[in-house]
């Protein structure tokens, strides 16, 4: 039994003709791209992107705004003038699209690091530092883990002999017969994944 596919309310052809019928409405937007002598700086475009209120509403209230003051330096432009320029200038609209894409990429970092008051590139730098620190910590912990696993067990005759020296593993205190004082607390112990085994190792002492 075939499933009945609902008929679309409007076909693609009808939609196209609908747009064509109202083509004249958007004359200003469909005008060919113009060339501009002055362009806003990256900082200005960034400021524009950060202002979601930019709208054609301003143009409506001040209809002669664009013609009167587009000759000013871009730093003097209002948000609506920026919008007008960014929609029409091929160079700046590309820069705007790139900026939006990069902002979207950095959003993840900002979401996770905004608690530290960092944003954008700084957030990314913080994330990398944080990730590097975690990797080093994990590596050290694993190393300790191996070191302890290689340490002689209480049942082994080697347990009552001195610990083997040398190698990176010897940086950490191993449990051996030479040990005669209070145990030196090593924070990395707490990070060990197999804590029960560690406790079992310590217990005979």
């Amino acid at each position: 039994m075939s499933e009945k596919v609902p008929k679309p309310i409007i076909s693609e052809e009808e939609s196209k003709s609908l747009v064509q019928e109202f083509f004249g409405l958007f004359g200003a937007l469909r005008a060919p791209k113009q060339s501009f002598s002055a362009h806003p700086s990256r900082d200005q475009i960034e400021a524009y992107v950060s202002s979601p209120t930019a709208s054609f509403k301003d143009v409506w209230h001040r209809p002669s705004l664009e013609q009167d003051s587009m000759d000013q330096h871009p730093s003097q432009w209002t948000l609506s003038q920026m919008a007008w320029h960014l929609q029409r200038c091929a160079k700046c609209s590309k820069a705007l699209a790139k900026l939006r894409a990069s902002r979207k990429r950095s959003n993840w970092f900002e979401e996770h690091f905004c608690a530290f008051g960092v944003r954008g590139q700084r957030a990314r730098a913080w994330a990398l530092t944080y990730a590097t620190a975690v990797i080093i910590l994990v590596a050290l912990t694993l190393n300790l883990n191996l070191n302890l696993n290689m340490a002689p067990q209480p049942t082994s005759p080697r347990y009552h002999q001195s610990a083997p020296m040398g190698g990176f593993g010897s940086l950490y205190p191993t449990l051996n017969a030479d040990y005669d004082g209070e145990p030196t607390f090593n924070v990395l112990w707490a990070l060990r994944s197999n804590l029960p085994m560690l406790l079992q190792t310590v217990q005979p002492i």
């Binding site: 939609s15 609908l18 409405l25 937007l29 469909r30 143009v59 209809p63 929609q87």
Partner: protein, 145 residues
């Protein structure tokens, strides 16, 4: 001057979407200040249709038209807007022409924004009908004058 009035007309269209537009009677003279009264009447027809008929459907129709107002599709902008629509983070009141242009929305997205399905062809015909009535009235006024 003509160029700017064209923007004013577009801005009026945007305001219909955002439901912040002035009554059509109040803006009629202003929107045809450059003499392009036919274009002004087209926008006014939308305003009358929005007031007299299914308001949400007319706003949805305008959203579709604005999103197709630029021939070139802006994929980044489109993806952002579609995500916002799907996550229900955007409403009709928050849409601007700048945000819609080049996004080439599908009807399903428009329906999702509007909150219901409607028949775009029927709404279009209604707008056209109102436009024809307005244009006929304008012509007869001119003849009398």
């Amino acid at each position: 001057m003509g160029f700017n009035i064209e923007y004013a007309r577009l801005a009026y269209g945007e305001q219909i979407i955002r439901a912040t537009h002035l009554p059509p009677e109040e803006v009629e003279d202003f929107l045809s200040l450059d003499g392009a009264w036919e274009q002004a009447l087209q926008w006014l027809a939308f305003a009358f249709a929005e007031r007299e008929g299914d308001s949400q459907a007319i706003r949805g129709l305008l959203v579709y038209l604005f999103s197709h107002s630029a021939d070139e599709m802006d994929r980044i902008k489109q993806a952002e807007l579609l995500e916002d629509i799907e996550q229900r983070r955007v409403t009709l009141e928050e849409l601007t022409m700048e945000r819609l242009a080049g996004t080439h929305l599908n009807w399903s997205h428009v329906f999702s924004l509007v909150g219901k399905e409607f028949n775009p062809t029927r709404e279009k015909e209604r707008v056209k009908q109102i436009y024809q009535q307005l244009a006929a009235a304008r012509l007869s006024e001119r003849e009398i004058a």
